[in-house]
Symmetry: C2
Subunit: 315 residues, 2 copies
Amino acid sequence: MPEPLFQKIALVGIGLVGSSLARVIRRERMAGTLSIATRRAETLARAQELGLGDEYFLDAAEAVRDADLVVISVPVGASGAVAAEIAAGLKPGAIVTDAGSTKTSVIREVTSFIPENVHFIPGHPIAGTEHSGPGAGFAELFEERWCILTPLPDTDAEAQAKLTRFWEGCGSRVDTMDPEHHDMVLAIVSHLPHIIAYNIVGTADDLEAVTKSEVIKYSASGFRDFTRLAASDPTMWRDVCLHNRDAILEMLARFSEDLSALQRAIRWGDGDKLFDLFTRTRDIRRSIIEAGQEVDVPDFGRHVLAHPKPESESA
Amino acid sequence: MPEPLFQKIALVGIGLVGSSLARVIRRERMAGTLSIATRRAETLARAQELGLGDEYFLDAAEAVRDADLVVISVPVGASGAVAAEIAAGLKPGAIVTDAGSTKTSVIREVTSFIPENVHFIPGHPIAGTEHSGPGAGFAELFEERWCILTPLPDTDAEAQAKLTRFWEGCGSRVDTMDPEHHDMVLAIVSHLPHIIAYNIVGTADDLEAVTKSEVIKYSASGFRDFTRLAASDPTMWRDVCLHNRDAILEMLARFSEDLSALQRAIRWGDGDKLFDLFTRTRDIRRSIIEAGQEVDVPDFGRHVLAHPKPESESA
């Protein structure tokens, strides 16, 4: 059997991302020992019940002792506290990375706690579902998804190459990016969509003229799509909003400006303007499917799942 | 073999809805003869190639001759013209219905053309995908989905009961509603979600600081969900915006007001307010799944489709 990529890996946080990592690390035999830490006893017991690791700790400092790779996957608002907690336990030469959705704030809050002889390389796997907790993870989560590393100016090239091999071992493709640019890109592709989804679901929930039961019954006409993102973990998304404020406000301003123009076109019956926008947006989905970032079936494949073998396929 | 529900059904329009109806009508043997009409020769040829009906016409007036049920499924902006075209050919006692996403405008534009001895009962099946055209339909489209009928004050009870049986034969559940209320409900559950999706995809497409290739690569972080609705038929959605203007503007105003409040909470770092909204919206998805209007798998089941038998299922 070949040597594992790391003698010991410690996962701090065992939610959707952490528990998916645990599963793929085991499947790909990437760690000699897999150590798991989380703050809540209940979550740790669940991880243990699922057999996700070799060792389990409520104290993250104990979990990271002797680890060659430490992956922090906690809501970004907790990154600084975790770094402070593990700092003294880190092994010289270890690689510390994270899976947070914002990067400048994580760098700001984590870096000062990391000892000189430890390699801190911030990262962000662009993968997830709306479910959370140790039971929600699965080994295939990262397959064909991008993982963005935002190395610091003094990042060790060898450590970065090893971390890249780790993510590739998880099935990811790996990109590097400037942290500020990462936060701008994610504000439009991830943060704004979540905020808009939360907002529209909130608006529908607040109406008086339309009942909640009507919203639910007729949701297949579009609304239900938004409820998926709006069912994401509230702590994670509160933290994202607080930690990527400037980029999010910039994207929100652009979105609102465009929406006002669209609203005006509707008010004044400008059919050509509407038709132009609605035509232009069609292509981008095709490109996403071609890039392997979306399933190539109508309606996200819901009908395939509901009716595995349509009788009328030949019609 | 039992008598079919209708001796002859005519479908005017053979896009996603029309062609799905054709397939389920055939599967359930609901028509003695199935007649198909569409304006474009190319679309008609495609329908014929797919063997969707028994008779094919470019002239809708010919298609509806002797039909006991006529289903108009065209973009709502074309409903009035279709009604004018078929009026003279309609058989006394026939039922005419439609599948349009707006109801007050269709009633306004269609009713005056319908002869006294013909039953016009407006309808709207709440079902669809982002694909369009005769090749996009499938017999299961209406299964477990609601179909809303908006009968007029003088609607014949027997004709309405027969139309209800027809939609139930397609697999739908049937509701009745006041047309104005229908338009208000659909503005929030369907029209606003589509407009918001078109808008955000347009905003992303217009950025200078983030490239289109970045939007595509990292779209799995949320954005790709919106591209599905934003890939819907431009003509259909232009017409919806023009024909349900008042209800849409009302919903847009509420959405924007709520978004401003959310934006303010982000600007001022009001974490509690964000957490409250993000928690409240979570429940509604669960209700939609329980109501049978959404698949009960994370990520719309994309991972199930991409990885049919996860190796790590037991982990």
